[in-house]
C-alpha cells in the first residue's frame, strides 16, 4: 500500500463531521500554522514541498503564492477553484463530499499564509449537495473557532464563503472564475495583469484547485521536506486520480506520483485491469483536454521505457508520443470503443462550453464538432481528416485562455495516433455505424530499444 495523505481516513464513518475529523488529527495544521508559524514560513514550507497545482497546469503552488503582490492597505483574496467540470475528472467532488473539512482546513492555512481575510470557494453550480456539505462544514468550523474573528486567539480573522457557479466549464479558468465571482459574465480576462497582481475586484488574488489546497494540510503537518520525499523528481507528493472508463474498479484513487501506469491500470490495489477481460485500446491520462494515447504508448515511452504517473513522465516525448497529467482524469478505453465517436463527444463538449469571446475557439470548436459528427456517422471524406488537423492547429495557441488548446489537443492527437480508424470510417461508411474498428495494432507492445541513445 502506498501512502495516503488526503484520503487516509476517507472510510471512517462520520469523517464529514468536525468531531470525527478532529479525532483523526484534523485541524492540527491550522493550530500549527497559526500558533507557531508566520505566514512566510507557511509559504516556505509549501515551496519546499514542491507541490504543483493539481488543477491541470501543474504550476508550482508555492511559487504562485510568492508571486502574490502585497501592496499596503489592499485586501488580498484566496479563491478555491471547485468548478470541476472536465469530462473524466471527479476527484474534487469526491473530496468535498466525503472530507469537506480537509478543504476547509487547507483554506484556513492557505489564507493565513497569503494574508487573506476573505476567501471564497467557487463551486460548480451542478454540485448543489457539495455546496450544502461545505456550508455545513464551515458552520461547524466557525462554531469551533477555526473561522471568523480572532482565530485561536491569534488575532487573525478569516471569513470563508461558498459561491455556487452557473455550471459553465469556462468558469474553471481562473480569470473567468473571478469574473463570474464578481457577478459578471464568465469570460476569461486577458492576461497580463495576472490575478496575483489584479484579481478579484482588482485586488491581488490566488486561485488554487481544491486538491492543491487540501494538500497544504499534510504539508504543514509533516513539513514540506517530508512531503517532497514522496513522488519522483519534480512531481512530488500524492495525486488524486479519477479513473473511469472500461476498468474493473473505476473510482478516485490517491497515488504516489511516479507509480508506473501499467501498475495503476492492472494492479488490484488500483483499477484492477480492464473490465470483462477485454484489452486496453487507448487512454486519456489527464482529463478530456489532454492528448489521447494508444495503449502501447500509454504503458511505455517510444523507446520502450515504462511510463510513470507523473507530470514529467506522462509528458515524455512531447505531443508526438506523450500526453499530460492534467487534472488526473484517467479514462481507459477497451477494444470495443470507437475513438472517432469519443473524439466527437469531447469536441461536442468544447463546442458547448466555449465562451464565445475569441473567434478561433468560438467558431473552430463548432467546426471541429460538425466535421467529427460527419465522420462518425459515415458521411465523411478523406480530406476531412486533414481538415481536422488544420483547424485544430489554427485554434491552438491563438486564443485568450487554454480552452482553445484543450479543444484542439484531443482532436489533433486522435488523428495523430488513430488515423487508420478515421480512414476506416470514411472507407466503410455503413459498417462503421454498426461495428467498431477494434484494437488494430494500437496495443502492440513497444520493444525496448537495444541501443541506449545516451551512451
Amino acid at each position: 500500500m502506498s501512502r495516503k495523505l488526503l484520503l487516509e481516513h476517507i472510510n471512517v464513518p462520520g469523517i464529514n463531521t468536525l468531531e470525527v475529523y478532529r479525532q483523526k488529527g484534523g485541524y492540527r495544521a491550522v493550530e500549527k500554522a497559526i500558533k507557531t508559524l508566520t505566514p512566510d514560513e507557511v509559504v516556505e514550507e509549501v515551496k519546499k514541498s514542491g507541490l504543483r497545482g493539481r488543477g491541470g497546469a501543474g504550476f508550482p503552488t508555492g511559487m504562485k503564492w510568492s508571486f502574490l503582490a502585497k501592496p499596503e492597505g489592499v485586501a488580498r483574496y484566496l479563491v478555491c477553484n471547485a468548478d470541476e467540470s472536465e469530462p473524466g475528472t471527479f476527484k474534487d467532488r469526491y473530496l468535498m463530499t466525503y472530507i469537506p473539512h480537509a478543504l476547509i482546513e487547507g483554506m484556513i492555512v492557505s489564507s493565513f499564509a497569503l494574508g487573506a481575510n476573505t476567501s471564497y470557494i467557487y463551486v460548480r453550480g451542478e454540485m448543489m449537495p457539495q455546496i450544502r456539505i461545505l456550508e455545513k462544514a464551515i458552520a461547524e468550523a466557525k462554531a469551533a473557532g477555526f473561522l471568523g474573528k480572532n482565530i485561536l486567539g491569534s488575532g487573525y480573522d478569516l471569513e470563508l464563503y461558498v459561491q455556487p457557479g452557473g455550471g459553465a466549464y469556462i468558469c474553471g479558468e481562473e480569470t473567468a472564475l473571478l469574473e463570474s465571482l464578481e457577478g459578471k459574465r464568465g469570460n476569461p480576462r486577458i492576461k497580463p495583469p495576472f490575478p496575483a497582481i489584479a484579481g478579484l475586484y482588482g485586488c491581488p488574488t490566488v486561485v488554487n484547485n481544491v486538491e492543491s489546497i487540501a494538500a497544504v494540510v499534510p504539508i504543514i503537518n509533516d513539513g514540506g521536506d517530508e512531503y517532497a520525499k514522496i513522488g519522483v523528481g519534480r512531481s512530488t507528493g500524492t495525486k488524486l486520480i479519477s479513473a473511469s472508463g472500461n476498468l474493473v474498479k473505476p473510482g478516485v484513487y490517491e497515488i504516489e506520483l511516479g507509480l508506473p501506469v501499467e501498475e495503476f491500470i492492472y494492479s488490484d490495489e488500483y483499477c484492477g485491469g480492464i473490465a470483462n477481460g477485454k484489452r486496453l485500446k487507448a487512454t486519456v491520462a489527464g482529463g478530456s483536454s489532454v492528448p489521447i494515447l494508444p495503449a502501447n504508448l500509454t504503458l511505455k515511452y517510444a523507446n520502450g521505457e515504462p511510463r510513470l504517473m507523473s507530470y514529467e513522465s506522462l509528458a515524455e516525448g512531447g505531443f508526438a508520443t506523450g500526453t499530460m497529467l492534467g487534472s488526473g482524469g484517467f479514462i481507459a478505453f477497451d477494444e470495443d470503443q470507437c475513438i472517432v465517436r469519443n473524439t466527437w463527444n469531447f469536441s461536442r463538449f468544447y463546442h458547448h462550453e466555449s465562451c464565445g469571446q475569441c473567434s478561433p475557439c468560438r467558431e473552430g470548436t463548432g467546426w471541429l464538432e460538425k466535421v467529427l459528427h460527419r465522420l462518425e456517422y459515415g458521411h465523411g471524406k478523406m480530406s476531412d481528416i486533414d481538415l481536422l488537423v488544420d483547424v485544430s492547429r489554427k485554434i491552438e495557441g491563438n486564443t485568450i485562455c487554454p480552452l482553445g488548446d484543450a479543444a484542439a489537443w484531443p482532436v489533433a492527437s486522435a488523428v495523430r495516433h488513430f488515423r487508420d480508424e478515421f480512414e476506416w470510417h470514411v472507407k466503410e461508411p455503413v459498417k462503421c455505424l454498426s461495428s467498431n474498428y477494434g484494437l488494430a495494432n494500437y496495443a502492440v507492445p513497444i520493444e525496448k530499444q537495444a541501443v541506449a541513445e545516451e551512451k
Binding site: I170, S354, C355, C358, G364, T365, G366, W367, I395
Partner: protein
Amino acid sequence: MDNLVKVTIDGITVEVAPGTSILNAARQIGGDIVPPAMCYYSKLEGSGGKCRTCIVKVSKGSEKDPRPMPKLVASCRTTVMDGMEVQNITSPEVLEARSGVVEMLLINHPLDCPVCDQAGECDLQNLGYEHGLQKTRYEFERRTFDRIDIGDKIQLHMNRCILCYRCVFTADQITDKRVHGILNRGDHSEISTYIQAAVDNDFSGNVIDVCPVGALTDRTFRFKNRVWFTKPVDAHRNCDHEKCTGKVTLWYKGADVLRVTARKDQFGEVESFICNTCRFDKKATSDWVIEQPTHVSDTSVISSNHYETFKPLPVIKENLALQEANKVELEKTEKF
C-alpha cells in the same frame, strides 16, 4: 525624455511611452505594418484581445529578458517593453495564423456583402480580401438569427456579427443606462437587448459606428445607397447636448444628406462620439456648417468614384517647387 521605450516592429524602430500597446506603437509607425484590429477600439476601455486578428510574434521579449514569447500575442493588449522586437507581416507564422483567424471569422458570416450596408467600409471585407481563401472550406449550414430592430433607428443583424464586443463596451461606457449585452455562449452567443427592449439613449447610435461589420445598421440609411456612391463631407453644428461635439461626416448623394456618421480616423475609429439628434434627425444641409471633403484613403472603394486620377501638367514636371507642393498627388500617380 529618457523614459521612452524602444520597440522594433518588422525592423522599424520607434520610441514610445511606457505602457503603450504593440498595436499603438505600430500605429505610430503607420503603413502596412499596422496589425488589423477588429475588436480593439482605442476610445473604449477594456476592448481588444478577442478577435485575434492583430496577433503578432514577439521574437525578443525585452532588453532585460530577451526570450521570445512562446505564443503569438494579441498586439492590442500586449504592452511594449524596452528593446522588444516584434514581427508582424515579416513572419509567415503570423500571416498564417491571421488567415486562420479570418477563416474562422468568415465561416459563420453570411457573406451577403452585395446587400449589406456596411460593404465598402467593412473591416471584415478588407481582411477577407487580404487574407481570406477563394473558397470556404466550411460545408455546413451557417448559424442564423432573426433580424431585430432595437429601437426605431437601429437594426441588429446578428448573422453578420463577429462578436467583437465593441458595441457592448460603447453601451457600457458612453451611454448612461446599459440595456445591451451578450446572451448565451460559444457560437450561439448573440448581442441582445434583453427582451428586445428598444435601445433608447442619446448616444445609442454610436454602436453603429463602432461595429466593424454590418451587424448594427442605421435604419434611416438602410438600403438607401451603396456607400461608394455617396460623397463624404466633414461638417459641424453647435449641438446643445453637452457631451456631443457636433463634429460629423455627412454622406451626400446629389444634394441630399443620406447619412450622418461620426468622423473616423485612418484606423476606422471615430474621433468623437456624437449624439442621436445629430446622427438621425439633422439631415438637411442647412443644419450644418460644411468644412471640407472628408479625406478618404486611396485604397478605399469609397474614393474610387469621386476623385479623378491626377494628371500632372507639364509645368509641374519642370518646376521643383511645384513638384514639392504636389508631392502627395504625384506619389499617387506613381503608385497606381
